[in-house]
Structures are given as C-alpha cells and as structure tokens.
Symmetry: C2
C-alpha cells in the first residue's frame, strides 16, 4: 500500500525552504518595504513556533491575528498550524461588538496585532475573556505605549525563538489549521474551521493549469485581505510553489496597487469587484504599465460585465471570474473558456467569461430548485449545493449549522443557473430573489444590466411587498458624478426594456448617493431593503 | 470542520462526465480507429461496473488487464476501482513464467485481454489458479476461437450492463485502487498497490502549472504503456481535466506516433528515452509537422544529453526530464528551469534541463551517503529516499519489502547528486556504482559522456572485479551503422579524457552489436556484467 503521510500546512513552507529559499516576499508595512526570502521566512516561522510554544500555546489552541497583508502575517499563517495551533484571522472591519464576540467565541489565547489596529483592541480589552498575551507587529525598536498587557514586540520576541524548531508532522490531517468568521445577515458572525487537509488540497486546486495556474514564475499580489478566507488561500499556494509574493500592506490605495503592479511586475492578483473598479479608474487616469498581469482573479460578488470588458478588451488584462465563500476555503468555480469555446464570437466569449465558471476538480455540486435538481440549460434556477474536502461541514459551535448544512451538503444560499457546459452563473441570493406573481425575478440580473449603462456607478435591486404580485423589484442606483441630474427614471427603464420581459422591469428607480455595503464591499441588501421600505413608508 | 469526503478514482470520471462530456478519446485498436467522448466513456464504464458486479467481483478483488493503450483499457481503469475492485495492469512483455506468477500472486479473478495477446494466455491458462473469467477486447462481432473458458466479448457483455450503475463513494480513500508489478533484478516481480488517495493526489500533481500542467486544452498521447505504472498516471489526470486523449494502440511504430502527433495535434506525450530516440529518427527522415507539441515527458531512465538537445534545439520541441518508479505512482521530480534560471547561458540551461528536476509538491526527499545526509552541492552522492502519500510503503505480500522500505522511507536504490537549487541528478543505481580505490565512479556519467560521441548509438558501463582497485569500469558500446570499424578504443578514450579524472576512465572499451535490455527498454546491467566477465574469463 501507499504510505500514510498526512497533508499538513507546515509541509508547504518546508517545501519552499528547501526548493525556493531565494525567492522573495516583498512586503509593505507601516514604516517600510521589506524583502524577505523563503529561507528567512522559514527560519523566522520556526522561531515564531517556538515562541508560541513558550507562550503556552498547545495543540488546537487558537492564535488570533488583526492584521493587514504582510510578511509577518504570512509567517503566522504557517507558525500557528505549523506547531499544532489554529490560525484565527479576524476581520478588522467588523464592529467592535462582533470582534469581541468572535475573539471570545474562538477563545483566542494570543493576539497578533498591527500597530494601527492597537487602539481598537485597547478599547475592547476588558471584554476579552481568553486572551493571555498580545504581540504588536511593529517595525519600531520600541514598544508603543499601550494599556495591553503583557504586550510583546514581534521582532524582539522572535530573537528569543529557536530557528531549528520542527513543524509538527504526526497529526491527523483533518485537525483544524485555521478559522475565519463570516458575517451573518442577522446575529453574530459564524465561524468556519479550516483543516490541514482542506488547505493543502485547495492549494493543489489553485496550482492547476486550468484554474489559477499559480507558478514559481508568477509574482502574486493578494489584494483580498489575509483576514478574509486566508486571502483566498493564495499565500499558502504561492509559498508551496515558490511564487514571489507582493503584500500591499495596510490601508493601500488604488494608486499603490497600480504602482506595485508596475514596479514588481505582478502577474497575478486577486480581489473583489470594488477593488478592480478602483484600479480601473486609477489606470485610466494615470500612465501605468500593466503588461505583466496575466490574471486578475475576481470573486466575492459578481463582477459587472462592463468591468470585465474594460479589463479584457480595453486594457488587454485577462480577467477571471471566480466563485467561493468563507465556508468553501474558498475556491469553488473559476471561469475559463474550454478549448472549443475559443471559436465563439467575441461577444459570446465575454458573456461566457462573465459567468462564474465550472467546478474545480475535487468538489461536487448539485443545483436544486423547487422540483428537485434543475436541468443544465442555462435557464432553470436553483440553489447551489456543495460537497468536498474543502467545504465546511458546520459553523463552529453554532446552532445555525443546521440551516446551512443538510444531508451532507452545504447549502450556499446562492441561486444559480447552469448551462450545458456546466458553467454556473450566480443569479441571486435565495433571500434576495424576487417572487412576483408566482415567478422568480433575479435582482442580480437586473443590477448587472443597469450597471452596463454609462451613467451608472453602481446599482442594487431589492423587492418591496406588493399586494397583487406578492413582491415587486425596485432599482436603487448611484450615478457617476458627471451624470448627476442628467438621467431620470424613464431613461433607465427605457434602457432595460429591450433586455427583459415586461414584468421583470422595476416598478421604480431610486437615485441615491451611496448603496450600503458590508465590511468586505458587498451590497448590504437587508439594510437597503429597509431604506427603500422606509422611503415608501411600507412595513413587512 | 471540513467535510469528510474521500478522494476516489470514480469521482475523476464523474467530473469528466459532467463537465467535459463532449471531449474525446481517440483510440487505435487492432481493427479500427475509435472516437468516444467522456459522456460515452462514463456510460460504458458504468455498464462495465455492473458487468463486473454480475461476474461476482467484490470489494478488493483484483481485475487483471493484458492490453495496449486504448479506450477500453481506459474504461477498466475507472470501472475496477470505481466499483471497489482493484485494477491490476499486467506487463505483457514479461516472460510467461513471470506473468503466471503475478496473476496467481495477485489472485486476479477476471482477465481483460487484447485479441493479439490471447495466444499468450491460452498457453499458460492451466497454470492460473484464481481466474474465473476471461474477457477479450475485440472489435469483431464474433468471439475468436479459443480454449479459454468462460470467454466473453467486451462489447457484447457491455450491452448487458447498467448505464446508471453508481461509482462507489463510501470507501476509505486508503483502500487499493490499482496494482502493478515491477521486475526485480533477481527473482519474481514485486507488486506495488496504488490507493485511491495516492492516485487522486498524484493527478493533482500532474495538473500543476509547474509540473506537466495537464489542461483541458491539451491533446495527450501516452506512449508509455497503460500496463506500466498506469501510463505514468496520465490517463487519470487527463480524464479529470477533460483533456483529449490519443491512444496509440497495439504494436505502434515511430511512424504511427509521428503521424498521430501531426494528425491529432498532440500537445503532450510521455515515454522512455528509447521511444524518443525512435521518434527522433523518424521525424528526421520524414516530413512531419510537430509544431503542436508543447511537452515531451521523458522518464524511466536518464535521457542522453544529445537526445534532449536534438528535441529542444534542433526541433524546438520542449523536452522535460522526469523521474519516478513503479513504487512512486510514479511522478517524483520534473525538470523545469526556475524563473531566475532563464538568465543562464544556453549551455547551462541545457545542462540543468538534463538533470531530473526538483521534487513535486506533496512529497519529501532525503539523500543519504556514507556519512548521513549529503550536502546539496551538486557533487556529493547518496541514495535517494522518498516519503509521501503516493509512495509505496511495501511490496505486496513480499518479504523483499524490508530491504526497500526502512524507517518510513522508500529507498529507491538510485544514487543522486542534488545541486543548490534542489535539482537531483540520477548518477547511478546503488548496485551499479563502481567502487574504485575507495572512491565512487558513476557508470551513468561515463555512459552519458560516451553517448554524446557522434559515432555511438548506445553505451553502457559496468564494473569488473580488480585486485588492486577493488573494481574498475569497462565501457560497452554499440556504434552507428556508418561508423562500424571506423572507431577504436583509443578514439573513445581520447574523447573522454578531457571530461574526467584519469582514474574514472574505463580500462577497456568493448564494441558490441547490442546491449541487453529489460522489457521496458532499460539496460540490463546484471546480464551485461556477466557477458563482460565472461569475455575476460573472470569470476566473482
């Protein structure tokens, strides 16, 4: 038989230490730009593991991080699971109440904190019930003044560590390696626990020629935060494959992203549509060389067709639509044309590329509508159900588990169509679908159509209760500055009319200054729906 | 936590059925060329699973194949493990005695046999102790005359099968999925058992951008036989990723290979150096368009530098040196330049490419010499030890296990150097190293040097006992036809002198008509050594 060797996160960095010691991570922190290679990162991570050991961290204990994307954060990515503990990345954009909740709920024992995030933790420190030590990740020689105690300096504590400390190897690969909380529509965030096995298999998936094809020859810049589903797992995969990584650090701007892409010849980058809208504006104003980019990965929410078109056709930057969630480690689908689809017209290709793509090898999917599994005809809608070794089986100690994990499948809450090629398109969230006269209307499809109008900066469509039809769609739109007061409701409806059945057209178009969003840039439809109902003085 | 979903071979074909149903396998059998797509292969495989079930095959039972590379063989690749049985591919080039041994030792219950191999089995049938049924894979409507009983026709029996039969999913991924016997230097062949887990992880490894990068857009032609380490696992990986496969069928010639590459625009192909020497001669004589080829994978034994040079420089065909063994599923290393090695001179690049490459992600290696682990300096020699989920932990029911599997590591018996980049070079087999005056001489390095001489067709270097030095090298060479009688011993030694220390030079050069080889084209050094000793009338 074959050897029983567990898949472990530590083995990823060990591989990089041995085969790519000279390859670098270029990392922007508050005070300076760092260049550290995988040989050094290996040594520093080993020191950090021994420090965690000295701090009393034991197998299965949670190590929290409140940090931007940088090399120190990367080191904790490997040190925590590498010595048997669990990396808990905390979304710094959550409310203080939610941050208190998840630190206590995860029972974090140590917190690693970026200097600019210290004040946030100082304010809530009295509410933290399990934290025994704080480590500030600073470039400065001296510790900042703080009421946190005990407080250590990352670099100083590292000097006390053992650079020969060994990665744990005799563990069950199904043991926890990481965790991340995802915001819920109502109530507290829900925790997802990542296993060693899941992270390693997911890293393979990211390296496949037909997915992200992450390679030693790449220069990867994760824009998606390391506190958000492990920056989509790219830091793990990139380290394994010896890829140069460029970490944009704290509070980056579109300008810094564009400059880093040009300066470090970034080949692959990953983020949400909002980021790419910002970058697009930046590169259209400035004079940047973006020619090194071979792949912009876009996920988190559906990218408007216009955005994809601008990247691909105008700027010749390959743009890949992907789909995933905190519960899915996250890569589930990625949009790439099959070889025989290269013969399609430019327009058809773009349409296909705007879909979310096909399932990556290693997962299973099922799409279930009102009458069981739907047909793969590109029209029928159903909820996407997922199964596989990097799909969560539960929320961590949370009774909401039973709503989302049923009969061995994760119920994503996303409504999709699937075409004959097996390509999915996210049509809506189950809860955002509009039920009008017994039929379903996809709020997302109307949004996407509206967003192709030149005057529109962003748009969101929500349902309001309707006596006759049960629900009816209302469009909420934000105009580009130069179109303010120059476009009216009828213009928008006129624009939509040729594209949809009459009963799909919104009953009204509301012009707004801003659409409310979550901390990761997704439309906060629940809040928008309340605003719209208030506008019409409606009640549930 | 994450879901507990096993990695199974069946799920590979299920993925292809769903996402690549239209992609084809082009398959040459005795009588005709077949084109079957993955949708059809899925249905046929399901029928075959139900047929195996009807034949009484149960979980863990072995299903033997004696067949060339074609679509039916591919279907059994999935049907046997897909229904819980074990695919046992039998090397048809072994002696009848060894074939009897391994069929009985594996306890095969059914044999799937190509029509032209029937006579071989008819001759040995009375020695087979466990086989209960024979299936002949023929295109003809009628069964051939045969003394095998019961004998079924593959296509006929398939019509009785159930096209909706389900792949087994509730199994332990560490259960056996396949097995293959490797010839031993002495005694009977040794069996290696492949697990579902190992095959799936190995398939991921083959799809990585930095290894074989197998993609949906590829057209893959496995020349390495399906009876030899699962054609290096490419049929599994290619099916998973939706790759078009071109199966060259029985008794192919270099001409057929060249024609298939041109006709079907083959992009990737895999085989041993002997095959590529043959193809090289063919394309240098004929007028073929080889421009579709993006990768020729070469393994099994070290490729001469001249061969690599001819493919890469003369014909502009990228040539990848790889290393593996029956015990390793087989991919262990693959030679690709790192990004920063692109700056090397053409000569240095070629030299680097001629090494066997770096370890693929997911495995561990250790190189042990007389004084423990060697330094990675490109000079020190040691035996390559391997560990990982697709490395065997034993030989199947064989006491020779304890020689090769020690302390959790597979001792490959291959002597290598490792350079600063972690790139290995196979220097010799431990048993073929020449120990002269307390130092080691690599027979392989001298062979490689001799083979770059224009007059040499092939060369092998072996040791003879020596009273003063313990052992001394003797070179055995075969000249190209046009150089016969035009090159002598002194010419060869003169050619070698600038390249080696004086004491490395062979004591003699013997001119031969042929060097004895194994059934898979490797030099049979043991036999050669006997011939050489007989030549000098020496005894051990």
């Amino acid at each position: 038989m074959m050897m029983q060797v567990p898949l472990t996160v530590g083995s990823i960095l060990e591989h990089a230490e041995k085969f790519f010691p000279k390859k670098e991570v270029i990392s922007q922190t508050h005070d300076k730009l760092h260049r550290v290679n995988y040989g050094e990162i290996g040594q520093r991570t080993r020191r950090l593991m021994s420090v965690l050991h000295e701090l009393g961290i034991q197998n299965g204990d949670r190590v929290g991080t409140l940090a931007w994307n940088h090399h120190r954060h990367l080191e904790i990515y490997f040190a925590a699971p590498g010595m048997g503990a669990v990396l808990h990345t905390i979304n710094i954009r959550l409310s203080p109440e939610h941050i208190i909740y998840i630190i206590n709920h995860a029972e974090d024992k140590v917190l690693f904190i970026d200097e600019d995030i210290l004040p946030l933790i100082e304010k809530i420190k009295d509410h933290l019930t399990t934290v025994e030590a704080f480590v500030v990740m600073t470039d400065k020689a001296e510790l900042p003044e703080s009421n946190l105690t005990p407080l250590y300096s990352y670099e100083e504590i590292l000097t006390t560590g053992d650079p020969t400390y060994e990665f744990i190897s005799d563990i069950d690969e199904n043991e926890p390696a990481g965790m991340c909380y995802t915001s819920a529509t109502t109530g507290n965030p829900k925790g997802v626990v990542y296993s060693h096995r899941g992270i390693v298999l997911h890293s393979y998936a990211l390296g496949l020629a037909d997915t992200a094809a992450i390679s030693e020859s790449d220069v990867s810049m994760p824009v998606v935060p390391q506190f958000h589903v492990n920056a989509w797992g790219t830091p793990f995969a990139c380290t394994w494959f010896g890829t140069t990584q460029v970490m944009p650090g704290p509070r980056f701007t579109p300008k810094r992203l564009a400059e880093f892409i040009e300066k470090y010849k970034v080949t692959i980058t990953a983020g949400v549509p909002t980021i790419w809208l910002g970058l697009l504006r930046e590169i259209e104003q400035g004079d940047y060389d973006m020619s090194s980019l071979r792949a912009v990965l876009c996920g988190g929410s559906a990218a408007p067709l216009g955005l994809i078109k601008a990247f691909e056709e105008k700027h010749k930057i390959p743009f890949y639509h992907a789909y995933g969630a905190t519960e899915t480690t996250p890569l589930v689908t990625l949009s790439r044309l099959k070889s025989y689809q290269q013969d399609l017209s430019a327009e058809e290709k773009l349409k296909e590329r705007a879909r979310q793509g096909i399932l990556v090898p290693g997962l299973e999917m099922k799409v279930v509508g009102d009458n069981g599994e739907i047909e793969w005809n590109g029209k029928d809608m159903g909820e996407l159900l997922l199964r596989g070794p990097w799909i969560a089986s539960e929320y961590y100690k949370d009774e909401r588990t039973e709503q989302a994990f049923v009969d061995g499948w994760f119920h994503t809450g996303d409504v999709v169509t699937v075409d004959e090629e097996g390509t999915i398109q996210i049509v809506d969230r189950t809860k955002d679908l509009i039920k009008s006269g017994g039929e379903w209307i996809s709020s997302v499809e109307i949004e996407n159509a509206i967003m192709t109008h030149e005057a529109i900066f962003e748009a969101s469509v929500v349902a309001i209760p309707d006596e006759e039809w049960q629900e009816r769609p209302i469009a909420c739109v934000v105009l580009h500055e130069e179109f303010k007061d120059k476009v009216n409701k009828e213009d928008i409806l006129e624009f939509l009319r040729p594209q949809f059945a009459k009963w799909w057209l919104p009953d009204d178009v509301l012009f707004m200054e801003e659409i409310p969003k979550t901390s990761v840039g997704k439309f906060l439809k629940r809040q928008l729906r309340e605003q719209v109902k208030a506008h019409y003085s409606l009640q549930d």
